[in-house]
């Protein structure tokens, strides 16, 4: 189950930021992080740009994707001090003709 939903058009590139402060309250930085995307069949999907980290904020550009497909983007971060591993899951819906407030 996703923590957030993003709807974008196929040609858009939209940088998504998540601040892990609520999930890693004892940490000031991330010692490791990964971002991965799969489509609704569980196949790896090329809808991500290059991630970046600033403090506890993990950022990744959401790009490309096939119209009508839903992608699950899992952002994983490890706290430097606590060594806790926490995740934030985004459902990326790529729609050319369905826009507006979700």
């Amino acid at each position: 189950m996703a923590d957030d939903v993003v709807v974008k058009r196929p040609n858009e590139i939209q940088t998504y930021d998540y601040d892990f402060t609520p999930k890693l309250p004892l940490d000031a930085a991330l010692s490791a992080s990964t971002v991965a995307a799969v489509d609704e069949e569980g196949n790896s999907a090329a809808v991500l740009g290059t991630k970046s980290v600033s403090g506890l904020i993990l950022s990744v550009p959401l790009q490309g994707g096939t119209d009508q497909k839903d992608y699950t983007v899992t952002m994983q971060a490890t706290g430097t001090t606590s060594a806790d591993v926490r995740e934030w899951v985004v459902e990326l819906r790529v729609r050319r003709n369905l826009q507006g407030v979700v």
Partner: protein, 241 residues
Amino acid sequence: MLLGEAKDVVREHFGRLGLNTTILTLGLTEGRKLIEREGNFWWMKGTYDASAVINQQDYSIQSGGDFDIDNFKDARALLWKKASDVNWQPVEVGIVDHDELDQMYDEDDQGNPEFALIDNTTLKLYPPLPDLEYDLRLYFYQWTDNPTANTDTDDLLKNYGMALCYGAIIWGFEMQLKDLQGASYWRNLLGGTPFGHGGEIAKLKRENFKRDWKDRVMLTPHLGAGRLTRRSITNLNIYCR
């Protein structure tokens, strides 16, 4: 309609965030079940070839079984032939009850299959002991799944997509919103009142009947010379006087 479009249609009725995708997928699965419970439809048809084993009466119908069929629902017909033959012969399947067949045949009766019945997930042949490794061909209906990819479709979604959407919306109204009155509105659109006699399901049944007309219904003269041409295959007979 693509699966992704069906998902969006359903989402619009719950708010785009109101129904998470895992639950939505379950809703669409239940929607398909709701439709398929109402009949044996054309997209559910399949065939499977197997072989009889000498002196073996029972054959399992399940994934990995003698008839390796997932989600078996109902048998349409069963045929047999010798391995060296080229023409198939009919076996009466599901016409006679288990206890009657047990009375009709001795336990050590041998021969080619004449009758068959399906008991839970087991196909039983009569006479009970096949004397050769006959080829068997089972025509069946099975429960089907929605496509997994949003960009895929199938016969139900492509031509009767709203039926699936209505089914999922009914499930959502009942399970998610606990709104039985709202669900009954969508239920009426899917199946009419009484359920199954109207709406999209009635359209599906009409199409199903049209497709089956050619190979399932036989016009049989009840009187006169034509009477002699009556065939022994149990079928839907319409007698013309």
